[in-house]
Amino acid sequence: MSDVAVIGFAEAPNVRSTDGTTNGVEMLVPIFREVFEQTGLTKSDVGFWCSGSSDYLAGRAFSFVSAVDAIGAFPPVMESHVEMDGAFALYEAWVKVLTGEADIALAYGFGKSSAGDLRRVLALQLDPYLMAPLWPDSVAVAALQARLGLDQGLWTERAMAEVAVRSRAAAMSNARAQLSGQVSAEELLAAPMLADPLRAHDCAPVTDGAAVVIIAAADRARELCERPAWISGFEHRIDSGQLGARDLTRSASAAAAGTAAAAGAVGAAGAVGVDVAELHAPFTHQELILRDALGLAEPVLVNPSGGALAGNPLFAAGLARIGHAARQIISGAADRALGHATSGPALQQNLVCVMEAR
């Protein structure tokens, strides 16, 4: 798998609420322009388009149908859509390039999380017969997960707070982040509980946003980008949807995806062998679970963008992690980087994209 690379990335400002429609067009048009300026491409150069979004987030059927208006899809385009984070749209796009049906593919994701009561909307991802009728919301489910780890001594509330401290400090260099700043763990731990044992700083903010990534096959990638982020491993796995059927303090699917994705890398050092990792962890303790599952230890730099705790536009945040990781390679800051996306309650589904400079 030596021949597909990320060559461009852009994301919309991560904000608490936008005035635009739930079909994402207002957020997508400017970042399409931005990524085309970066790469020197136009829409007619794109052989395959794939998007990720959710009708439930938009509160309407077929929300992605209007999003193709952002493309200007006439003459008609080869296009597909996943009801998943845009990271999985990127996976489908990568598959399409591997088949040889497209040389250049563009994946985008968008989500207007502010349109509804996000915690309750996400409760509808649970088993519709046995679990969802009880309405355990997404923060409550994550709190149960955090509690299990605390009680088993796997992490502490301070370690969780320190994740938030690092995230906000890192986000100070990310102009599109929603939350950033210098805070201390003490300050954060003095705040009241939101859903015991989670405090506000443990939870990603509610964010509207969108992201776009362009990938290209070997020849085009070299031509369009001085230092492409070559994809050496791209894998995803899902765990059981039954919260009681898996060990919530670990992530088997992230570990399996990470191991498989690392297998493609050359001369890997350490578990996944990367310099930098962008993890899609919407809760502080989930970053700790993911670091463990992916074998990320010092000196691997984690979430230089601030990660999802600095801005979590649903259905775009995972794709943005891959974009930020790729940017580390494209800019020359790193030689090998990992982008991660998650989906479903309590890290149920995980995707890992490992990229390298060549």
Binding site: F74, R237, A256
Partner: protein
């Protein structure tokens, strides 16, 4: 977890441009009904999956990845139901993708599953598509009023009826063509044990006497609202050659999208459909579809879309599609049998309807279509469309790889 997952298969390190072969190893579907209160969503899907695996002579352990397709989540009131379905589909510990491209999603599900094999990533992929429409009301779930968009009014029929009237005006087709399609499809459905509507005694007169819903579409010319699922197992060349059963080789796939509305949009003969078909025929090496395709499963939710899509797909010149219908050429035994399964007019679990077309086309070339088998079918088309005639997905399958 299978070995192919733990280790990247050796094939993925080789040249990207080499388009690997893929084939349908097995297909299965549920008994489609207006309500299936006897099963959960998982039970409905599993009914189709178990039949597909049995048809392929495989078990869930032989599957490397799962692709799930369905239309809007609002139809069942479950957000991303594939998350809850992971265990029931045998996807736990494996890669699972969820596709949603409006009404064409069943077709897109088949195309994405085929791509995973053609890219050299997996040996066997399970594609599953479903809709359990009795959990809510699809017509009203579609009758939304999004900003800056034309409302669908009362369901899809209200949206498409003006396009049909436009087709009739442009083509000069006689008024009874739609009813002829309904009679053929419902009678075909009576030969299909899984069809929701099975009406062997339907007549032109009875269709024309049925209530008018959206002029010119009458009640009997409209798809039902169904609970149902469909599953297909797609394998690589080695898996296909190892199969003891007949397989359907995927000769070509194609997908195209255009916006819902724009100046110059042709709702009768949309360019996205025509472009998708042209790309499909080129990739499959087909120069005259009507001569080289033995049977077509085409997404016809309202009767008149048979002649409209025959033209859009290139089986007939613009304005001439209705002549094939009128001459009986789309019946089993005709020049281009269309929807021998009864098609969408007999069963419409929306998210699954496209994959049903793809599966039925595969069954025809595998020779496993039973009473609705087109004798000697070697090459078949599966077709789906969705949104406001803007999403198209299709494939050509055949009984031999080349």
């Amino acid at each position: 977890m299978s070995d192919t997952l733990a280790q990247p298969s050796s094939g993925r390190h080789s040249s990207r441009a080499e388009h690997r072969r893929a084939a349908v190893l097995g297909a299965g579907q549920t008994h489609h009904r207006s309500k299936r209160p006897d099963v959960s969503i998982a039970g409905l899907c599993r009914e189709a999956v178990d039949r597909a695996l049995a048809d392929a002579g495989l078990g869930l352990g032989d599957i490397d990845a799962v692709v799930v397709g369905k239309a809007p989540d609002l139809f069942e009131g479950v957000m991303m139901p594939e998350l809850y379905l992971a265990d029931a589909l045998g996807a736990t510990g494996k890669p699972l993708l969820r596709v949603h491209t409006a009404g064409s999603v069943g077709g897109a599900t088949g195309v994405v599953a085929a791509s995973l094999v053609q890219a050299g990533l997996h040996r066997r992929v399970l594609a599953v598509a479903f809709e359990k429409q009795s959990e809510s009301n699809a017509m009203w779930a579609l009758s939304i009023m999004p900003p800056f968009s034309m409302p669908l009014l009362a369901g899809a029929g209200g949206y498409f009826a003006p396009h049909i009237r436009s087709y009739i005006r442009r083509s000069g087709a006689p008024a009874h063509i739609g009813a002829l399609v309904a009679v053929k499809d419902r009678r075909n459905g009576a030969r299909n044990p899984y069809a929701h509507l099975r009406q062997p005694d339907i007549t032109l007169e009875s269709v024309q006497a049925s209530p008018m819903l959206w002029d010119p579409v009458r009640y009997d010319e409209t798809c039902p609202s169904s609970d149902g699922a469909c599953a297909v197992v797609i394998g690589d060349q080695a898996a296909a050659e190892a199969s003891a059963r007949p397989v359907a080789w995927i000769r070509a796939t194609s997908m195209r999208t255009e916006p819902t509305m724009f100046a110059g949009k042709d709702n009768v003969n949309p360019r996205a459909g025509a472009d998708a078909a042209a790309a499909l025929w080129a990739r499959a090496g087909i120069s005259s579809p009507i001569d080289e395709i033995d049977v077509a499963e085409i997404y016809v939710p309202f009767s008149w879309f048979e002649p409209m899509w025959l033209e859009n797909l290139g089986f007939a010149a613009a304005g001439d599609g209705w002549k094939l219908t009128q001459a009986g050429e789309t019946e089993i035994g005709g020049r281009i049998p269309v929807n021998p399964s009864g098609g969408v007019l007999c069963s419409n679990p929306i998210g699954a309807s496209g994959l049903l077309r793809f599966a039925e086309s595969a069954m025809q070339v595998m020779g496993t279509a039973g009473e609705h088998q087109v004798p000697g079918a070697k090459t078949a088309l599966g077709h789906a469309y969705g949104g406001g005639s803007q999403y198209f997905s299709m494939w050509v399958v055949a009984d031999s790889p080349d």
